[in-house]
């Protein structure tokens, strides 16, 4: 009985400790991640005013008792100036979608190359993929500007070699945006693709080739279906942040390459219309809800399907 008591006493702090381990991050994230989103939703339904903060409180208790300043005016404004707000929204989706495709076009052969290399080359190539991922994306975009500028490296080299007669306008075009997106998000597409490709059984491909399958047949019937989870995971990792991207359209895009992130930024910092900025944030979240929920659903499926394998975890 005494031993039973002892066990109880030992377990008591353990149970409290367990609660604490769960409660600490849960409370932190509830306060600093979930509450802010609720607050943004609230501000998106208030009206702007001159002062600090530059918006009316949504509700409160004043001298005359409970009051609210609820208005759907900000969303009405988004609808009224449809082309100013939904235009950038469609543009964001379009640019993010094609950026994802371009990333996939390069990442797929790169990941295949890495996965099919011998162990030494695989490590080197993986480090080469990870290296830009660890360096500041702002600085990489800045480096790209030096390349694409009218008086930048590419134009200077082209002129010097006599390939072009006059500098080509590359900055502030869709091209510069796509280059920026590829530069920023390519590693995020390569890593999940590599993770599925390295698990792909080479015997399967040999068997298919022995049976007379052509390259395209093998790709369509074996490689593509088996790497599909990697394609989906990588595409979500690129598409979701690309839709809300701010730095790339701000530094590489011109006045025509409006994206939602840039519009939100302008409303907030330049026009100081915080309620409209909040409404844009909510619109951005609404657009991303479907891919985000789909990503979580995919994650959940992977977690169930994943078999613990130390070597893969080290490699990934």
């Amino acid at each position: 009985m005494v031993r039973g008591m002892g066990k109880y006493l030992v377990n008591l702090p353990a149970v409290t400790g367990r609660r604490l381990v769960i409660a600490l991050p849960l409370i932190w994230l509830a306060v600093f991640f979930f509450l802010p989103l609720v607050e943004t939703l609230q501000v998106s339904f208030t009206s702007p005013r001159r002062g600090i903060p530059p918006y009316e409180p949504l509700w409160g208790i004043g001298d005359d008792g409970f009051f609210t300043n609820f208005t759907t005016g900000n969303y009405a404004l988004l609808l009224q100036y449809w082309s100013d707000y939904f235009g950038p929204a469609f543009n964001s989706i379009k640019l993010a979608f094609f950026s994802t495709l371009v990333c996939l076009l390069f990442a797929y052969p790169m990941a295949w190359w890495i996965a099919r290399s011998n162990e030494k080359w695989r490590t080197i190539l993986l480090v080469l993929v990870m290296l830009p991922f660890w360096t500041s994306s702002l600085l990489r975009i800045y480096a790209l500007i030096g390349l694409l500028n009218p008086n930048g490296f590419i134009n200077a080299a082209g002129l010097w070699l006599g390939l072009i007669d006059a500098p080509i306008q590359m900055m502030q075009t869709d091209f510069s945006i796509y280059m920026g997106m590829v530069l920023t998000y390519l590693p995020l597409m390569i890593l999940p693709l590599y993770a599925v490709m390295v698990r792909l059984d080479a015997d399967l491909l040999d068997a298919a080739a022995d049976l007379g399958g052509s390259g395209i047949q093998i790709f369509r019937t074996i490689i593509l279906p088996l790497t599909l989870p990697g394609i989906i995971a990588g595409s979500l990792l690129v598409f979701i942040p690309a839709v809300g991207e701010f730095v790339i359209p701000a530094l590489l895009g011109g006045p025509d390459q409006l994206m939602m992130g840039k519009v939100l930024w302008t409303e907030f910092f330049r026009n100081r219309d915080w309620p409209v900025a909040s409404a844009i944030a909510m619109l951005l979240l609404a657009i991303l809800t479907v891919p985000i929920i789909y990503a979580r659903y995919q994650d959940g499926r992977d977690a169930v399907a994943e078999t613990p394998n130390p070597k893969q975890a080290e490699a990934g």
């Binding site: 030992v10 702090p13 353990a14 400790g17 367990r18 381990v21 769960i22 600490l24 991050p25 849960l26 932190w28 994230l29 600093f32 991640f33 802010p36 989103l37 607050e39 903060p53 390069f106 797929y108 052969p109 190359w113 490590t123 080469l128 990870m130 830009p132 660890w134 360096t135 500041s136 994306s137 702002l138 600085l139 990489r140 800045y142 480096a143 500007i145 030096g146 390349l147 500028n149 930048g152 490296f153 530069l183 080739a209 942040p241 809300g244 701010f246 730095v247 701000a250 530094l251 939100l264 915080w274 909040s278 979240l285 991303l288 985000i292 990503a295 979580r296 613990p308 975890a313 990934g316």
Partner: protein
């Protein structure tokens, strides 16, 4: 497959080219005496010298370093908690809530996170008087918040591979849970904890968007200063700064992967 390989290799090489050409050109032209990133006008270290005298960049560097160290440390501690809860605690009551709230920041657009954090800080200030104004502390909180979710992912992967039987054996021998965690679990997951800290540090050190919202006067981080300079045009000092930062990261990443490789091969020989 022979025909495919040519296409695979050339697209792959082009991909690596896109990743590296801008960086390589920038590094080369950081030693250029002239201002342009296109015309070579002789080798010079003057932009590096200018860097050392640029108080604005240096103080922003210090601010960023301070913020990133604190944010990464908080993020790693909370990230360990999240990872331990998911991998070791089975089905606890708030599991679904924690998993939703710990993975949402991973996919939330930065610009939404930044805006909403600022709105929270402002309404907290008017309610409780804290935080008074925005500055280093609010940036640390914001960075720790999304950093811990990334840290949790890294640590979870390692914790999941770790054999629970060792912990159970220690518990059967009468060790308390905190003791088991500190003497067995933590040393085993240490590489992942270090990786998580470095990831959280990098995310904080590189963040422009969130910091722009939650920073105050006098707490400009390095990316904020760089962004404002780059908007005005190409500044050669930034070439020098970027080169220094890329060299530091490259040495760290290559060194770390070399160390991991050595550890792995050492482990294979022991088995």
């Amino acid at each position: 497959m022979g025909r495919m390989n040519g296409l695979v290799l050339s697209l792959g090489a082009l991909g690596f080219g896109i990743l590296y050409l801008p960086i390589i050109i920038m590094v080369i032209f950081s030693f250029n005496a002239g201002k342009l990133v296109s015309v070579w006008s002789g080798a010079s270290l003057k932009w590096y010298a200018g860097l050392l005298e640029n108080d604005q960049l240096l103080s922003a560097f210090g601010t960023s370093l301070l913020i990133a160290v604190w944010a990464a440390t908080i993020a790693t501690i909370f990230g360990i908690c999240i990872a331990v809860a998911f991998v070791r605690f089975g089905n606890f009551r708030s599991r679904l809530a924690l998993s939703a709230i710990a993975s949402a920041p991973l996919v939330m657009p930065e610009i939404v996170t930044g805006l909403s954090m600022l709105l929270l800080f402002i309404s907290m200030e008017s309610l409780f008087g804290w935080p008074s104004g925005r500055g280093v502390d609010t940036i640390i909180i914001a960075h720790a918040t999304f950093g811990m979710c990334f840290a949790a992912v890294v640590i979870q992967a390692r914790l999941r591979d770790f054999d629970m039987a060792i912990e159970e054996a220690a518990a059967d021998l009468g060790a308390t849970q905190p003791f088991i965690f500190l003497s067995i679990t933590l040393p085993v997951i240490a590489p992942a904890v270090v990786a998580a800290w470095l990831l959280a540090f990098t995310l904080s050190f590189d963040d422009l968007v969130i910091a722009s919202f939650v920073s105050g006067p006098g707490s400009s981080t390095l990316p904020i200063v760089i962004f404002s300079k780059v908007r005005l045009g190409v500044t050669p000092e930034i070439n020098a700064l970027a080169t220094v930062m890329i060299v530091v990261v490259a040495v760290a990443v290559i060194g770390a992967s070399w160390a991991i490789r050595r550890r792995l091969s050492g482990r294979d020989q022991n088995q």
